[in-house]
Every structure is written in structure tokens, then in C-alpha cells.
Amino acid sequence: MYKFAHIADCHLGAHRNPVLQKLESNAFEKIMTKCVDEKVDFLVISGDLFHSNIPDMGVVNKAVKKMKEIRDEGIPIYLVYGSHDYSPNETSIIDILDSAGLFTKIVKGKVENGKLKLKFTVDPKTEVKLVGLSGRKIGMEEKYFEILDRESLEKEKGFKIFVFHSAITEFKPDYLARMTSIPISYFPKGFDYYAGGHVHKRIEEEWQEYRKIVYPGPIFAGSPRDLELSAKGENRGFYIVSFKDGVKKIDFIEIPTCQYVVYEYDASNKNSTQAQEELIQGIQELNVDNKIVLFKVTGKLSGGKTSDINFQQMRRILAEKGALYVNVNRYGLTSKKYTSLKVMGQDVHEIEKKLLKESIGSVKVKTTDLKGNKGIKLASDLLSALRQPQKPNETKRDYIERRVRHAFEVLKLTEVFE
């Protein structure tokens, strides 16, 4: 019986905070050690090993050391790009480490007669055949799936693994409904194992001719939402898969990193002073020692501004109580006085126009030129006039004068100020 490990979405280098950096690197090191202890025959990484294509070199250095250790133990590593560490011109850290022989990027192929023909990489020890498609930014890998020559991949005999970094439409979690995804029908059928990455949730599925579709989820946290899900009980870790003439066993190996505390507060119908007092009282009662605190404040304040609430003070209190790290999420907090608007548009101008349209009604003026569509146009023209960039060789003074002059022209006030 052979074994391989499957990890994804390590997002090494995602955090600036030293505590989170440490937890992230600990998780990665524990996994590498476990792979050696478990004597896996090879390791598959389904993309986003790093959080960016050129990550912090300190982060790279640590990761390389650990990966070299397991490579020296005779455990090869096979991987694909993820959407974060992808590079369109093959100049990612992944390519450098691939060239250095630390691991093998298994996405090999070429487009012939409009079809993408992928080439298998064969693991020399187990003779497992691996093939994969990298993730690209904003789901652009769909084009590759579209032209993929599935037939040739399906015909290949032997134990086959398809490695990818994309969400599958049919298995997306509800909170990722709007995420770009690939329908399962684009995937080649008949592989023994589909090693997925990109979806930050653990998924194990068997679907008709797609035997095992597995996403391990992130090893720690690539985003605040991951922290939130971990705090709500989502286990983080990786898979060890035992196989011989097919998959025999799939074990999820949990890698605990730390404990979490979630503190949620609804500020609806409270003014900012009340909310501040209640929040401070609430956090005083929490046991946050050596824990990550996820602090979420929502609701609409009946009075005062959202900025009246001193979140810095709360961070300080929690830090004094021993919290490892405090994440404050106040995106859901609004005030009756200032309501946030959400609009969508293709470019800044469209968004701006929509925002003006949404807000024009709240401007109480008597002049009809400042109301409705006239008002929107005037505001838009004024913004354009004020947004003019400074010309080369134009002095600051001339630049300001020019913008003021244009603004007066838009407002038809030139004569008044002359």
C-alpha cells in the first residue's frame, strides 16, 4: 500500500501580524513533519502554497527549509499554481523553486489544433500519474478547461490524480455562490483522485464517474473569513490517502493551531456611547488568554457616528487580557446618520454616478439645478474638473488655479468671482 499527502491553500505569507505569521508557519511545519512521520510516498499541493507570486523572502526561506527536509527524506512534492501565486509569465517563486528542483510543477502541455493536451508526470516510485491545471486570477483557468483534451486524459491507464485549483460549481459552499467556478462536466472522468484547492472549505465528494473529489481547505487562514470559520468549528489540516489499485483510505489529519473566541455584538438601536460602554463591559468578561479573538460588530446605531466607538481601546484591553490576536470586523456597523451605500459598476465613473444617484435625494436644497439628474450631472462634472491631473512642468500654483477655474466654469460662477 502506498500513501500520499494532499494539502492546499497554505497561503504562506498572507499575514503581516507576527502572531498569525508564526501560527501559519507552525501549521506548515507540522504538516511537513507529519508527512515524514507517516512516511508518505509523495506530497501533492493543490495551489496557493504562497499568498503571492513574489512573497516575503523570510517566509520563503522557512518554507524551503521544511520542504527540503522532506525532499531529502525521499518524498517528492508535486504542485500547481494557485490563483495567488500564479504568474502569467512564469516568474513566480513557484517557478524558481521548481527550477531549483525543490518540487515539480506538474502542469505541462500545449495547445494543438485548438485543444489543450496535458502531459502526465509519473511518480517514479509509485508510478502514479499526475496531471493538473493551475488556478489563474479571477477564474481565468476556465478557458483551459474549455479546450482541454479530456479524451486523451481519460484513456490513460493506471492510478491517476488530477490536481487543480478551482471551485467546482456543483460543490461550492453557499457563502461562495458568487465565486467563479468550473462545472464538473469540464473535468476529465475516471481519475482515481481529484486533488482540489482554492475553496477554503474541507470537501470530500464522490460523484458518478468522478471517484474522489477532495478539497482539504486551508492549513490555517488565508483570510479573516477563514479565521471566522475556524472559530466556528471548521477543522483545518490535510489529507493522507492510502492507495493500491485504487484509493483505499482517506484520512483527514487535523492540525490544530490555536483556540478562538468569537464575540459578536449587535449595536442596533443603541447610540455610540451606549455601544461603547456595552462593548467594553462585554469584552471584560471574556476569557481570551492565548486565544485569537474575532470581534464582530453589526447593526445600525441610533445616534452618533461609527467612528465614535473606540475600537483601539478595545484591542488594547483584549491584548492586556492575553489575546494572541484581535480581528475587528465592523463592516456591518452603520449609523442612521451615515448610511453606507453599496453600488456596482464597471468602472469608477459608473460607480460614482450610481453613488450620486443614490445620494442625491438626501441633499436638501431649494435650487432645482442641484436636484435630480441636473444635480447628478453637476456633481459629476465638478468631480471631473477637480480630478484633473497636474501637467508636466506645471507649477503647483498654476495647477490649483486651473482646477479652481474649471470648477467655477462648471458651477457657472466665473463671473461672480471675477
Binding site: N89, E90, K105, V111, G114, S134, T169, E170, P183, W207
Partner: protein, 512 residues
Amino acid sequence: MSEIEVVGQVVGGKAARILVREKSGKKIELGDLLAVEEKEALLILQVYDLGYGSQVSQSTRELLAGLKLEGYGAGLTFLEPQLRNYVMAEVKAVARIEGQNVRIPKTLPSFFSSIRHITKADLAFLTKPSYPIYLGKVRSGSETLDVPIHLNGMDILRHHVVVPATTGRGKSNLVKVMLWSILGQDRFGILVLDPHDEYYGRHGKGLKDHPKAKDNLLYYSSNPPAGTNTLIVNIKSIDPRHFEGIVAFTDAQQDAIKRYRNLFGEEWIENIVRGKEVQGVAPRTLGVLQRKFDNILGIHLDDSGEFQSRNKVFSDTAGITTTTDIANKLEDGKIIVVDTSRLIDEAELLIGSIVVGSIFHRYQRFKSEGKLEEKPVVSVVIEEAPRVLGKEVLATSGGNIYSTVAREGRKFKVGLIAITQLTSLIPRSILANMNTKIILGNEMALERHAIIDSAAQDLSDDDRTIASLDTGEAIVSSNFTKFAVPIQVPKFEDYAEVEPGKKEMNKTVFVG
């Protein structure tokens, strides 16, 4: 007007029954559109009945026929037969054209007016509206004029469309033509529940061949071709209200469902299927519910206690976002074809119910937020509409999301395209709300009367015309047309003829 064009002359009658004598050598057909030119207007007439007229008495005609038949004189004929025997057409005035103004005629054409066939130029007022949906070309009798008929999709779809006809008269062909014509527009979100898997074109030409299909068409099937979506619905997406008017439950069963929903939340079906006992629910009731879900959804437990789906459409793990995805795409103005050919009726309607309910409530919210006008119109194509809009179904269930949409949908830009053979089964109150009827041939008198009774124009004289409509021939009766327009719907395969696109060869640069 030249002599050659004259096909007849007004010889009598009254407002809704003008009598026209046919000119010898000319042919006036049932359904023909005729024109009378007046001083400052053009009157359009339509033929709804034909009969013989003769100046010779019936007994003389019978005698002459007898003489010929019995061989007393093969060459016997009438003196100047074209004057003595002729065809009389019963026609009605359908429109009065004054420049670009079209009015319902309130006067008779001048007595003895000459009548000619309508021409393309006479119908210049039929212009292409904004957001056009193509239906076909104007038909005069069995002749097709080169005058395309487009209706404003924004108007007709939100006010519902009904397509009544018997089998083989071209209902699906018509709807395919309509959908093809709007596929590139982005202003219509159309959900097609397709029990015969005939819209997408899995095995032949279909909507998938439209040049904009890649961006604007989505196909869901339990057996999806490459690149299309798997029809898989997570049972957690199903709420008890989705069964309303689709599956009948007894009071005890409804009570049990309510208990499971309250206790297990969105996992209520799973717990019923797993046979989890709940206080207040008799084991027998639980057993019946398990069997019902097995029959309708095809879900059951196998011998090892694993959850199984017989039709592979309902799942306890996958398909969590399917119905939301579909609703999102409808809101984005896409056409969604759902192949329900492997599902039983109830399962098909249930999936429709989840999506329609979701989009309807979403649009209600948009209206209250003042965002409705910027959203595309959403319409649901439903075959055999009486399954959900039938009098009996509605009487027993009290209503369902489809009947709610039929009654209130237009306020929220959500409409139905109801296809049916049995219009008479749909209550008049609902039919009256369906403001566009595209009437294809129908030989059943009861059904024709139901259609005629609820048409936007007075079609009381068109019973015979509707009965005689051939495949692809239709009459469009709509609040958005000035008169009931006879049309010829093209064959989808001919209409959807597109220039073969140049294949992009080797253009994609592959980066591993």
C-alpha cells in the same frame, strides 16, 4: 389601385360581418388580410369565413349538375359563369391605418369598395420595438409576407404569455424562436423547465448554437455535456412551502413536516429520510413521508444507511448553490434551460418552485428598495401549464408560486410563458391576466372557446380560422398589438441559421 390587384368588392353586411364578393380568378383564403383604400386611411380586413354565392337558383344548379353527372351534356355550362356563380367572403375590419396611427375601426368601408390583398407597404406601421422578441412574419391566409413581427419583450413577458395548441402544432418551436431572438439582449432572464430536453439542442440544433450562447445561456442537466452544469439540488434548499400546490400532503403529514422543519431546520428532509423519530409524529406518518420523498425526489437510504439519490438530482452534500446560482443568473438576464426529462412531474415543478419563489421574493424586495426598474424581466417557460395553474390543482391546494406569479408577477417584472394543450383547465381569472396569447392550431372546440373567451381582441368569429391553422401558423392576440395578427412562425432550424463562426485555432497561449 390597378384592376389586377382587386380581389373582391364589398357588397353588404354589417360591422363585424362585411360581405365581399370574390373576383373570378382570384383566391381569397380563410384568414387572408385584405385592404380597402379610403380617402385618408387604409382599412385592414380579415377573412373569417367563406361561402358560395350564386345568381342561379339552387334547384337549377342541382339540375345542371345532374345533367352533367348523368352524361346528358358534358359541355353544358352557365352563360357567363363568372358572373352567376362566385365566392362570398365574410370579413371583419381589424384595423384602420391613418399614417402611423392604428385604430380600431369604427366605420364600415364604403359600400362597393374594391378590395385587394394586403402588401408589405400597408404594414409599415408594424415597426420593431425596443427589446424586441421575434415571433414570425405576418401571414395572410397561407401566404407569408416579408413583414417581421416583433413585440416589446419588456411589455409582453412581464404580463405573461400563453401558447395554446394541440400536439405537433409548433409550440416548442415558437418558444425556441422567441428565445433565440432575445438570447443576445441581456434584458431577459428566462427559466425554461424543459421536460423533453428539446431547447438546448443536445442532439441537434438548439439554443446552444446561438452566437451569444456562451455568455448568455446556461444548461442544467443530470447528464450534462462538457461545459454545462449538473442539475443537482441540495435537499437543504428545499423548504416545506416549495411543495405547496405541487405535492398533496394530508393534515397529519403537514403537521409532521412542520415539526421536522422546526426541530432540524434545513436538515428536515434528511431527518425524515433517515427515519429520525420525533415526538408527536406517528411512525406510520413518518413511513408515508419517507415513501413520498422516495417517489418524488428519488432519495432513500441504502442497505448501509448511506443517503442515496436515484435520479442523481437531489443530494444531501452537493448542489448547495444550484438554485441560488440559477436565480442569480436570471437576475443577470441569462437564459437558463433546465433539462427535467429524467424527473417526474412533481420533482420538475418543485425545482421550478424553489427558483421561481427565490426570484419572485428577490424582485419583491427590489421593488420595495426602488431597484426593480434596472433589473431584467424574468419569465418562466412552463410546459403543460395546467399542472400548476389548473383549476383542480388550485382548488385543492389553494395556490402555488406559479399561480402567485400569474396573478401578481407583472407588478414585480416576473412573468410566465405558459404552454398548454388544455387552456380550458386554467381558470379564467388567470387567463385574463395573461395578456399575450399566441394561438396555434387547435382542433378541440372546447379549448378554442376557452382561448377565444380570454383573448385580448374579439376573436369570436375566428373559431374556424383557429381550427384550420396549420403547423407554424398562429394568431397573436395581445394587449400590446392593435389587432390580432396572423403570423407564420419560422421553423427554428431555418430561423437559427447563422454564419458559421471562424474557429479560433491555437490562439490560446497556455501557461502551466
